[in-house]
Subunit: 642 residues, 2 copies
């Protein structure tokens, strides 16, 4: 007997990433196939082929699908069509056979998982911490040796390393461990140099480490078995510093007196300790089995984690206290891993380009790229890196909180109930939306606002300057408190029972944010003499980067007009970089090398920045020639707009 | 007008070490001169020329003194006479002129000061900790640099050292210090490698350090200015571990469970913290100005200070946990110096030859000696080192507590009221004695007991086997509880109102102690093929070594029969070695080198030891030929004995 999914003469869809095969009937859409297998695909317009949020890549068997429809030709870009993208709601099985489909992250409703997971870049395993089991030869009266010498000699024989030192605690563990273990001990060794733990007997060879991404908003922790390089447990939580200031600048300001500085350090260290306990509990290991913590964060988070006053990174010329990587004992800052555990913090590039941006560079390996790549880690502060294996340049721009849902009338963080995907039907100007967790809407997160602005532009509800059209033929456009607004959700449908709107001020916030990012990238391009067409890949990193619809971001003009196929989502690349550094001392060397080579451009010191910024406030740009594919899309959309 | 002391035509004594000149009349003795200037010289027999405790060296002007008396010829050895020694109570001024006199430590009643001071060996100054004042160049927008890089660059220019690292605390001090100091900072640098403190402005170049001798009985601390190499304050206290066990073995036994181990570590660390506060208070500096603590102690004290269970050093083959020098952060063991301060512990040679013995070797520099030297650090456990620049060998012998006043009927530590010098008049068999602090007698300390045994032997009140003579013609010899005893102090004169006696058992304890030391030295001599006549110098170290009368020790046969002129008191040489190591990293390198070269001989594993020990139980030895000068002395004394 064969299983249902393996029978021949059937119509089947194989979702590659999910490794799931779904049987369907002729005439069924790919969206129906996905729903049947509980693979969440965005479909905001209700499967009408209008919102284009359900884009999927057909990798194989396209001949078993019907032809690309006229609506798909309007909704998809030329590049999408060339690459075999279809709208899942439009593509129907026309006969038996198998279609192999990939659901890109921006079309998936499960993308939140990516935030913690990030991109997986494999590295050759060479962690700083290793465990060895040694069989020892007792000293005799004729040949006096200390316990340390006996262990050192065994290490020399087994590892070919001489003069290993001992941590304070390992030394005190040594004499009883040797006797309890009857001259067999397990030694945990750091950097092939220092014995940091001695346990009696053969305790196995699995040391653990923790990679931590200290985001301004969120902390993500990954417990890894260092000898296998596997993530064995993950956990995340909000950054508790939020209580003392939503954004970096307000936290820096709060840290102005030393008690507050200690408080900010204390809460984040306590949170990391809690995450550590949590992952250890779920992996059923004691926290004493964790011997190293690798942490990344932006420069302010880095300084606060270490209890260094970050005041000066907010004042020109924005100098960080230190830029090189830092290694210190975990207990020096109150982290409760093994008593001899170390903390490693990735290097910093500048006051506003921190270890997180460097981790992005590590995770994307753009330092190895033959062709120029553009890396954008979107946040309240957006770090941008441009370049290739020959040269890398970075800058930081104040993109503000709008893209993370802050400082926007009904903005909220990407939490349950946040509208994260929006589509406005160009014909009736009615919206469709998708919320996180499919909950009733409570507000709009950054990706949702970007979708709204993009949709409003495509529906001609806003003009190139970002002005809402007060005369539009829809009750959803209205004037309130002297401001025009578009009603996304009527009060009857919202959790708060009030209308959820996007107003002129909100659109302006998005314009400011995207203009800062675009102008930053433009200045880097100018300094590096790189054109849009030279850019092989645009990497979008950060929580926002994961959620965002790349087409929407492109439509409003957030980054250079490259074809969507060159966009890569790398999710929480900072976390990925931290994990890589935890697993490989070579990656750390690489990080320190890249940090030295990575040039930093202070945008405030560039004369051209202000003009670039002003021009980039337009949607997508004052100069339409800079956004040829967006113009094509807008023209095609005009066919649908009444 | 001239001062009294500078007038000519006068009889004057210049006490060189004290730098004091005393006027005296013709016919006055040197003892009277000393008394007049309040220079304490032992004179137990009341100035009768019998006890020979008031030996002084006449360095110049001996022609102004009367001739050596017949009593001096009996009381002083040939060697003493050859070197111009006189008895202060006998030597009288015979005319005007100046006599230059040196009071050897064993004749001085002020010798207790030496316990803290120890021998002063000058070392080329090169401490691990130095302070520098740097004038910094601020970063600019065009040339981004971290604060660390700016300081590092200044250090490279001034010190020619690249890539200085920062301690955790120094890093957090850096950004505010730079701005508060208006781009002038004082950096404290450890080992030319790590910046451990950054202070705003020019704070001077004086770092402080603490040298600590952790004795089983006593702790001695020396606060030193590291750029001048001066001791600026000293303090000492009892080792509080005494509460948990008088001797090492009982403390090791108490440390058997981890709570007790922590307690033993805790009390000694607390005591060092208290000494640290005390010396800082007296030097009016904050404890944060102390950047390094160098500690020495025997292996058990070393282990307990670090919280390492010392159990195994009491079990064959007596392995210490580690033998190399240890450097760790002071706060790792709870020491409250500067937050980034380090602790350095001298290397260890074996389970019973610790860093204190090594410090003795450093202080005496016997590792540089062309001719063989014998170093004896007397304690409950006596460490012996024999050798020269070519080869050094060490051993340890269980000399027991008798020489420190322990396990003796009326024994006590060398504290106020302890009888420390004893002389028995060979004619009437009546004793004279001197107590510490000139207080009424409470008991006898080690040097006193040794004097008693030596005196009893010289008066023929004990025989060569150590047996008290029950038929002696004095009421002071009596039998009580089946044991013969000599009454040193009648109850009416003692604090306790009971007779203070030395009995057969006490004499046996001294025999056991001195036999162990003598036998240990003999075995070393045998292994090194060194004869008594080859030995250039015998160094006596340790508290007991300072108090002891070298003639008494020689008379009972504690060390080989070398002329007294070859005996050197080096007092608390362990403390001296610690101070030297604090002032000089070269000395530390030397210490580590010497520790590797210094061979260790386990007496328990030597077949000849037991015979040597048995023969050495005799007073001075079973073989009289081994102690020719002692035999001469005993023969001369026979002239006085009735």
């Amino acid at each position: 007997m064969t299983t249902q999914s393996s029978r021949t003469h059937q119509a089947k869809v194989y979702f590659k990433k999910h490794d799931v095969t779904t049987i369907l009937s002729e005439g069924d859409t790919l969206l129906e196939a996905a729903n049947r297998s509980e693979i969440g695909i965005s479909a905001i317009c209700g499967g009408k082929g209008l919102c284009a949020k359900c884009r999927v890549a057909v990798l194989d068997g396209e001949e078993n699908l019907d032809q690309v429809s006229s609506i798909e030709r309007i909704s998809l870009s030329d590049d999408d069509l060339r690459r075999g993208y279809r709208l899942a709601c439009c593509a129907r099985m026309k006969r038996e056979g198998t279609v192999v489909v990939d659901v890109p992250p921006e079309s998936s409703v499960e993308h939140q998982r990516l935030l913690v997971a990030g991109v997986q870049t494999s590295v050759p395993l060479n962690p700083a911490v290793k465990k060895y089991v040694f069989h020892l030869t007792p000293a005799t009266l004729q040949h006096i040796q200390s316990d340390a010498e006996i262990l050192q000699r065994a290490a020399t024989q087994e590892m070919n390393r001489e003069n290993l030192t001992f941590s304070y605690h390992a030394l005190s563990e040594l004499p009883p461990a040797i006797r309890t273990g009857n001259w067999v001990v397990t030694a945990t060794i750091y950097a092939n140099e220092e014995i940091i733990r001695v346990q009696p007997g053969d305790c196995g060879r699995v040391p653990y480490g923790l990679a931590v991404d200290i985001g301004s908003t969120k902390l993500a922790a990954y417990l890894m078995s260092l000898n296998e390089g596997k993530v064995v447990a993950t956990a995340s939580c909000s950054n508790p510093q939020i209580t003392f200031g939503d954004d970096i600048i307000s936290r820096i300001s709060y840290a102005g007196n030393s008690d507050n500085l200690k408080k900010l350090q204390g809460v984040v260290v306590a949170a990391v300790n809690k995450l550590l306990s949590e992952v250890c509990r779920s992996a059923t290991i004691p926290t004493t089995e964790v011997y190293e913590i690798v942490a990344v964060g932006n420069t302010a988070m880095h300084h606060l984690f270490l209890g260094i006053d970050p005041k000066y990174i907010a004042l020109a010329p924005y100098p960080p206290a230190i830029r090189t990587a830092i290694t210190l004992r975990a207990d020096e800052i109150g982290l409760h891993a093994n008593r001899s555990a170390y903390v490693y913090l990735l290097p910093i590039v500048a006051g506003f380009v921190g270890g997180d941006a460097l981790a992005d560079v590590l995770a994307t390996k753009i330092y190895e790229s033959e062709k120029p790549c553009l890396l954008i880690d979107v946040g309240t502060n957006t770090e941008i890196v441009l370049g290739d294996r020959h040269r890398l340049m970075s800058c930081s721009c104040a993109s503000g909180p709008a893209l993370e849902g802050g400082c926007v009338t009904h903005g909220m963080r990407a939490e349950t109930g946040a509208i994260e995907r929006v589509y406005i039907n160009p014909q009736d100007l009615e919206p469709g939306y998708q919320t996180i967790g499919d909950a009733a809407p409570r507000g709009i997160c950054g990706s949702g606002i970007l979708d709204v602005v993009s949709s409003l532009l495509q529906c001609k509800l806003v003009d190139q300057k970002g002005k809402l059209n007060p005369t539009a033929q829809t009750p959803r456009i209205r004037t309130k408190n002297n401001s025009i607004e578009y009603v996304l959700v009527w009060g009857k449908d919202s959790v708060t029972r009030t209308d959820i709107v996007v107003n002129q001020y909100d659109i302006q916030q998005i314009q400011l944010a995207k203009a800062a990012i675009y102008a930053g990238a433009s200045i880097l391009k100018k300094h590096m003499h790189i054109n849009d067409s030279d850019i092989a890949t645009v990497y979008l990193a950060g929580a926002f980067g994961t959620y965002v619809d790349p087409q929407s971001a492109l439509t409003v003009g957030m980054y250079p007009d490259v074809t969507l196929s060159r966009i890569r989502f790398v999710g929480n690349a900072a976390g990925s970089g931290a994990r890589m550094a935890l697993l490989s001392t070579e990656i750390r060397e690489k990080a320190e090398q890249v940090a030295k080579q990575l040039e930093y451009l202070e945008l405030a010191a560039d004369k051209g920045f202000s003009d670039e910024f002003m021009n980039a406030l337009f949607l997508p740009h004052r100069d339409p020639a800079r956004f040829p594919t967006v113009n094509q899309l807008l023209e095609r959309r005009n066919q649908l707009v009444g």
